[in-house]
């Protein structure tokens, strides 16, 4: 008897692609009952493990089952929100998923093997267990060892899929447990806090504003710290006090070149001392060259691309908001153009055939064809190895060639970025020659430097980085003595930090373990949706200036980037595609300003003097670390849920006692009443 295998993917597009590769030809799908998007594909395939099999490939649409509280707890007014920490939770199949579940049940009845083809991340693992439950409830034999397996794949390129199909692995229960824990915690904590906030605070707002809309004040353990970052920066900007500083500037005209020397001290915030030092320089009259050094320097090519980096670059260079960038990336993945776009890995595995990937990019006539050719003809250099590897997916890279003419303008920008980034990774670092000169003028040291870019290398394909030769330096030698052309004292003022931009916010969330590469964009979208923050274009001058500022910022961010970080994995998929309006092409960077409501909530909770304020990232960071512990088998699901619930319940109770503080903040900021 021929073995029957049921394959289930996470989305119809993946099912179609995999079916096409396994069947070796285009397979016609049959619509399932009650749903026009999901199809079943039937074909034969020879699996090494089970021999020739008759295969049905179908899909779900993200999560198959949902969770909610038992019916008696669903009505907001029907129970004390605090009860939700312990209220029973039921799993059920949503109305619109029922046809899909029914299809799985029908197919599962007669199959011997269940082969899970959901995306390979934690959410996917959990969805795999949901499918397994639905299938094995009908066909308990599928619970036996080896009867339910899963495929490990990172893109839907043919050879890769065939290889994945021939090497099934078991479902990772630990990862599924971590997601299950996260779902329960998000449900309990999100619901209890949201209900309490809305009932206790939302109602006074509603009354005051005399509006009929139910003002939902939502709380999410990721959302809130995200808002916290925005509010914190807002107050830093608002409270900022500018201060005057003084610096000494020295210039020297030599060989017809005007050289500017920077004071080694930078600047001082004390006028008297600055003037005294200045006088001592002038008294000395001449300056002496103490150091003249020329050495080779390089500008490193970028690291392989991760999700966070894609979002940040999308915001900075492409001026698109991160949610839109990720939506497009997801589409590219489903169409088989790029690898799985949710990854933390910034190092390429030794085994990946980079040359083959580059060769694909030499087709057609694109702006990067010539460069890709060059890489294959001697210009290739191994990509840098970053510090992170989530062991699930490689860095984001193009898997196939796509002709830009077939893409919309938006798609082109994102796709081109991914291709250029990949090619840049495989190119050489840019090379230059840097000359550093130090002089001693009186008791003070001054420095200048010059840069000559000798080889642009990766810069030729990656216009998002800038490195230009500076003005030539004249020839200085150690021991040279000269009289400066001009020396003067200058003053300036410190300027306030700027409001958070999206890449900065993503950077903060990433560094503090808030959200994951899969969800950060969603949390940001949520606080906009709830009207806790607004965005506006930063009023700034020319693009050039922006670039400089941002490259400074990037340097700082990279320098402080933490080691491979422990983060929980993404929250739900399926049903996200919802109301998204096309992002306007923004000229300036968008910055985040909290609304009075957002400020009131954060200030309110901060003023409660809780040991850990909800607007700070600490609680969530701990939760994410615990998720990781479940995945690594160091903690059980039950332990994590218990601990986290205890923590949040504790805070909840304290916060309840201090509701007047929250009310006061709302009155102050939302209603504008004096303190």
């Amino acid at each position: 008897m021929v073995t029957k295998v049921l394959c289930v993917a996470e989305k119809p597009s993946i099912a179609r692609a995999v079916a096409g590769h396994l069947a070796g030809e285009n397979v016609q799908g049959r619509n399932i009952q009650g749903n026009n998007y999901t199809k079943n594909f039937e074909f034969d395939f020879n699996f090494p493990t089970w021999g020739p099999c008759s295969v049905v490939m179908t899909s779900v649409a993200g999560h198959l089952t949902s969770q909610d509280f038992a019916p008696e707890y669903k009505k907001w007014q029907g129970c004390d929100p605090a009860a939700l920490f312990e209220a029973p939770i039921v799993n059920f199949v949503d109305e619109d998923r029922k046809p899909i579940a029914a299809n799985i049940e029908r197919q599962a009845r007669y199959c011997q093997i269940l082969y899970i083809w959901t995306d390979c991340d934690r959410e996917g693992e959990h969805i795999g267990t949901e499918i397994r439950k639905t299938a094995s409830d009908i066909n308990p034999r599928l619970r036996q060892p080896g009867k339910t397996v899963r495929a490990r794949f990172s893109n839907i390129e043919r050879a890769h899929i065939l290889d994945a199909a021939r090497h099934p692995i078991p479902l990772d229960e630990a990862q599924a447990d971590a997601v299950s824990a996260r779902m329960e915690l998000d449900l309990r904590i999100g619901s209890s806090y949201t209900r309490s906030l809305t009932l206790n605070v939302g109602n006074i707002i509603k009354q005051r504003m005399q509006s009929d809309d139910k003002q939902i004040l939502s709380y999410g353990s990721c959302q809130f710290p995200t808002l916290g970052f925005v509010v914190e920066r807002y107050f830093r900007v608002r409270n900022f006090v500018p201060e005057t500083f003084w610096g000494i500037k020295v210039t020297h005209k030599k060989d017809d070149i005007d050289v500017s020397f920077r004071w080694a001290r930078g600047h001082l915030f004390d006028r008297m001392v600055a003037v005294i030092l200045f006088e001592r320089c002038l008294t000395a009259n001449t300056a002496c060259v103490t150091k003249m050094q020329t050495k080779l320097t390089s500008k490193w090519k970028p690291l392989p691309l991760t999700t966070v980096e894609l979002q940040k670059c999308g915001s900075r260079f492409l001026r698109m908001d991160s949610q839109r960038v990720m939506q497009l990336a997801e589409q590219f993945y489903q169409k088989g153009w790029i690898s799985y776009p949710r990854t933390e890995t910034d190092q390429f595995d030794r085994a990946i055939d980079l040359r083959a990937l580059i060769t694909k990019q030499t087709q057609g006539q694109t702006p990067w064809t010539a460069f890709a050719d060059g890489l294959l003809n001697g210009e290739f250099s191994n990509p840098r190895q970053g510090r992170n590897n989530d062991k699930a997916h490689p860095p984001i890279h193009p898997v196939n060639f796509v002709s830009p003419e077939t893409l919309t303008a938006e798609e082109q920008r994102v796709h081109e970025f991914i291709v250029r980034r990949f090619l840049a990774c495989c190119a050489k670092d840019a090379q230059g020659s840097k000359t550093d000169v130090s002089i001693l003028y009186g008791p003070e040291t001054f420095n200048t430097s010059g840069l000559i870019v000798l080889e642009r290398n990766y810069l030729d394909i990656y216009p998002y980085d800038k490195w230009t030769s500076s003005q030539d330096l004249p020839n200085y030698r150690e021991g040279d003595v000269f009289e400066p052309t001009e020396a003067r004292i200058e003053d300036g003022q410190t300027s306030p930090p700027t409001y958070l931009t999206e890449p900065e916010l993503i950077g903060l969330m990433d560094a503090n373990g808030i959200g994951t590469d899969a969800t950060m964009a969603e949390h940001i979208a949520k606080i906009k949706e709830r009207q806790y923050v607004e965005t506006r274009a930063r009023g700034r001058a020319p693009v050039q200036a922006d670039q400089d500022v941002e490259s400074d910022f990037e340097d700082v961010a990279d320098r402080h980037a933490p080691q491979a970080r422990g983060r929980g994995r993404g929250r739900g998929r399926g049903g996200r595609g919802g109301a998204h309006r096309a992002a306007p092409q923004n000229q300036g960077m968008q910055e985040f300003i909290p609304t009075t409501l957002g400020v009131a909530l954060v200030e309110g909770y901060d003023n409660m003097g809780l040991e850990t304020s909800l607007s700070k990232p600490f609680l969530r960071k701990e939760m994410e670390l615990k998720m990781k512990a479940i995945c690594e088998g160091r903690m059980t699901r039950r332990e994590v849920v218990q601990e986290s619930l205890d923590q949040y319940r504790d805070v909840y109770i304290r916060a309840q006692r201090q509701l007047p503080v929250l009310h006061a903040a709302v009155r102050k900021y939302v209603f504008g009443e004096a303190g």
Binding site: R236, F240, V241, P242, E243, T244, F245, R265, G266, L268, F269, D270, R271, M272, V273, I276, E279, R280, T283, P443, Q493, T494, G507, L508, A511, N512, V556, A557, R559, H560, A561, P562, T612, K616, P617, F618
Partner: protein, 239 residues
């Protein structure tokens, strides 16, 4: 009637005690902190003559470093600041020293007051930042006061000698022990320093930090620091 002698009362003609007194006075003078007779007289009753001499010397030094030197040091012109030292009309003069001074105030003038204020606020909230990462600092068991970060500087100090003369000092080159964590009232010895326009130029070669602090001053200084920084920032615009 017997008169009760206080423990370790010193008979004026006790040779052993005289030796101790002389030895301590000499020791302190060698450390550039020669005590007044009054201070010595107040110190001696507190010691036990059975303690080894070296330990007594150390204790004496430790105690005197905790005092206000305008009341406890025997001063002579050679080891004091010139009266007109803070005169900005004098372009440059040199102090051979050795002159001992105490620190009345210290500022980090390499960083804006506002940024220093913000850093203290964050510390108070129990947070420190490592780059972008907000890390919660858990207070240690036993509630030891949080260590003050050593500041980067350069620093400007307000110094005072045993006679009470005050002068500013500027850290020309990094003197390790000088930072906002050092105690207010800490003592330093100046040798061969240059004074430019009434400000002493402090460099590692010319400064020996003896340490110590005046508890009452230090406590007050630290309590008021945030408020002072805030005000200084506010007037920053007026220079």
């Amino acid at each position: 009637m017997t008169t009760q002698r206080p423990a370790a009362a010193i008979p004026a003609n006790n040779t052993a005690m005289n030796d101790i007194r002389t030895s301590i006075a000499t020791h302190l003078a060698s450390k550039n902190v020669p005590p007044t007779p009054a201070w010595l007289a107040s110190f001696l009753p507190s010691i036990r003559t059975s303690t080894p001499l070296q330990a007594l010397q150390k204790t004496a030094l430790f105690r005197i470093l905790a005092t206000d030197i305008t009341t406890t040091l025997a001063t002579i012109p050679a080891t004091s600041l010139p009266a007109n030292i803070a005169n900005a009309a004098v372009k440059e003069l040199r102090l051979p020293g050795p002159i001992v001074v105490q620190v009345l105030d210290i500022e980090d003038i390499g960083h804006s007051r506002w940024s220093q204020f913000e850093a203290l606020e964050a510390q108070k909230r129990g947070e420190t930042r490592r780059g972008h990462e907000v890390i919660r600092v858990i207070p240690e068991e036993g509630n030891v006061p949080a260590p003050v970060n050593a500041s980067a500087g350069p620093h400007k100090l307000l110094l005072q000698d045993g006679k009470g003369t005050k002068v500013y000092g500027f850290e020309m080159r990094d003197v390790g022990a000088v930072n906002v964590g050092m105690g207010i009232g800490a003592k330093m010895v100046l040798r061969g320093v240059t004074v430019a326009r009434g400000v002493v130029m402090l460099e590692p070669g010319g400064v020996e930090v003896l340490g110590g602090k005046v508890e009452a001053w230090d406590k007050k200084w630290r309590e008021e620091r945030k408020e002072v920084l805030k005000q200084q920032a506010g007037v920053g615009l007026d220079g």
